[in-house]
């Protein structure tokens, strides 16, 4: 343990901060090389990364309930952003309030490690409860759409995201990494996948996958990212997770492929609403959903993958 964080997780955090330091130095050097180009968006992006990583690492290092409350707050911001861009009926203000109330409950189940409740609370109880509340209000015009939108929002932003927090309360199987190791592995692979798919696509991108949804997504980018993440995940997994190297390779495939779909699902939502960003909480990135889109898909899938193999 170093500063309350298990050894390997501590080094992983150090590595991430190292990458961020290098990126910051490059960002200072670039304008000197090309004084005419505008690097303000890159600068904003990196500054936002410092905030995200800084807050995340502080709460992970403090650990315990503080880290769980941190993820609950992320869910709150994400749900708020989602529910604000989709159409909602004025009559549903009450039930939207209930949707917010599901957050403290869901994360309480996480905090006390009640797996059975954690896994059914939103898919079963909230699924039944929201329409009940809506019926009592009595507005039938647009009922189907409203019920569907609301439950989907909570599934994406609360149920999915809470799986990241549950990784922290699983019994520790890798003493040198701890629960923090699992979270770092998932978050790092998910974000690094976004970056590598982007870079591979920029370098070799030719054949578009789904031009109607996301014109910049290419087979070359997707496959390049898949290969990169599979390899990196295989080599990192034995250090940060209970997974073997072989299982790590498969975790990489899972995270890379599902991360891609998380990204394009949220892109489709934005296309449908004719907006480019979901908010502007994170300058240079857009809203919180723009940053977490892949994570919405990777977190439950990665969770159940290791849960099946090791718990």
């Amino acid at each position: 343990m170093i500063a309350n964080v298990p050894e390997y997780s501590f080094y992983a955090m150090g590595g991430v901060i190292g990458v961020l330091v290098v990126a910051t130095i490059i960002q200072f050097l670039l304008p000197l090389k090309n004084p005419d180009k505008d690097y303000s968006e890159l600068r904003q992006r990196i500054t936002s990364w410092w905030w995200i990583i800084g807050l995340l690492f502080i709460f992970l290092a403090v650990g315990g309930n503080a880290a769980i409350v941190f993820f609950a707050f992320i869910s709150f911001l994400a749900l708020k952003e989602f529910i604000s861009i989709v159409p909602t009926r004025q009559a549903d203000r009450n039930v939207v309030f209930w949707a917010y109330l599901s957050i403290p409950f869901q994360y309480y189940w996480v905090a006390i490690g009640w797996y059975g409740m954690f896994i059914i609370f939103i898919p079963v109880y909230m699924f039944l409860l929201f329409p009940m509340r809506m019926v009592l209000k009595g507005e039938t015009e647009g009922f189907i759409k409203a019920a569907g939108i609301l439950h989907w929002s909570v599934m994406l932003t609360v149920f999915s995201v809470s799986h990241v927090a549950y990784l922290l309360v699983l019994p520790v199987k890798n003493e040198l990494a701890g629960g923090v190791g699992l979270v770092l592995f998932l978050l790092f692979m998910t974000q690094f996948n976004d970056v590598s798919q982007y870079v591979w696509g920029k370098l070799f991108g030719k054949h578009k996958i789904i031009p109607k949804v996301s014109p910049n997504k290419t087979w070359e980018g997707f496959l390049g990212g898949l290969l990169t993440i599979t390899l990196v995940a295989g080599f990192v997994a034995p250090y940060l997770t209970p997974l073997t190297q072989m299982q790590g390779f498969i975790a990489g495939i899972l995270i890379s492929a599902s991360g891609f779909f998380g990204d394009v699902v949220i892109s489709s939502v934005k296309r449908d609403l004719h907006i480019k960003d979901s908010g502007n909480l994170l300058p240079g990135h857009g809203g919180i959903l723009d940053r977490m889109d892949s994570l919405i898909y990777t977190s439950p899938l990665f969770f159940h993958y290791i849960y099946y193999l090791h718990y």
């Binding site: 709150f76 708020k80 529910i83 159409p87 009450n94 309030f97 909480l281």
Partner: protein, 214 residues
């Protein structure tokens, strides 16, 4: 004294509310007038409109912000009147139309003369949530004899969902605040109203929370 009250209110209540419970998508923040005399002409859906505008200003400037508010509503009871006048710093105005135009505006002119930034809601009422009502002409009569005042249109969207008229339950929603270009000088009230409503329609198009399907 009142200035301290207002700064404290903005720092401890308004800003945390705007940042955490609401969350703002701000467009063209640089177009906000930081110096008076100026008028912010905003659409009106909620009491939160004023709070959101307050949250956009540096603390050193908030005492310059003076919302023009209906006397019959905001001075209706003793506590609300004290709060509106001393903490928010409203300029009360009569909606009954009994008094003469010059008298109605005398407090506004005085505030503009000392370089204040007035917040005015040309709809005159919060009305139906998230719908813009017909704009009133008062704003034209306020500025027609002055050439030192710039009128800056501002559109907010989403606040009528967070806290609409007649509801006590606050529900968190992200909201848009879009600031427009200062209006060009006009020669008639209908011209001003046209300019303003065109500007509102354009600004509304920049809102992330405004659904074109509605």
């Amino acid at each position: 004294m009142n200035r301290i009250l207002k700064v404290t209110f903005v720092l401890l209540i308004v800003r945390p509310l705007a940042l955490l419970l609401l969350g703002l998508n701000i467009r063209n923040r640089n177009k906000l007038p930081l110096k008076g005399p100026a008028i912010i002409a905003a659409n009106h859906n909620s009491h939160l409109d004023t709070m959101v505008l307050f949250s956009l200003y540096p603390l050193s400037k908030v005492h310059k912000l003076r919302p023009i508010a209906a006397a019959d509503y905001f001075l209706s009871n003793r506590f609300l009147a004290w709060f509106s006048l001393n903490v928010i710093g409203i300029i009360p105005i009569s909606r009954t139309g009994a008094s003469k135009k010059d008298d109605i505006f005398s407090d506004c002119h005085q505030a503009l003369d000392q370089g204040d930034i007035l917040i005015l809601f040309p709809e005159g009422t919060r009305g139906e949530p998230e719908r813009t009502s017909r704009l009133k002409k008062g704003i034209y009569y306020l500025v027609k004899d002055r050439n030192d005042v710039q009128i800056v249109p501002v559109v907010t969207h989403g606040l009528g969902r967070a806290l609409p008229r007649g509801e006590a339950l606050f529900v968190p929603f992200n909201c848009d605040v879009v600031i427009g270009d200062a209006l060009t000088p006009v020669s008639s009230s209908s011209e001003l109203i046209n300019l303003l409503s065109t500007s509102y329609t354009n600004l509304l198009g920049n809102c992330l929370t405004y659904n074109k399907l509605d």
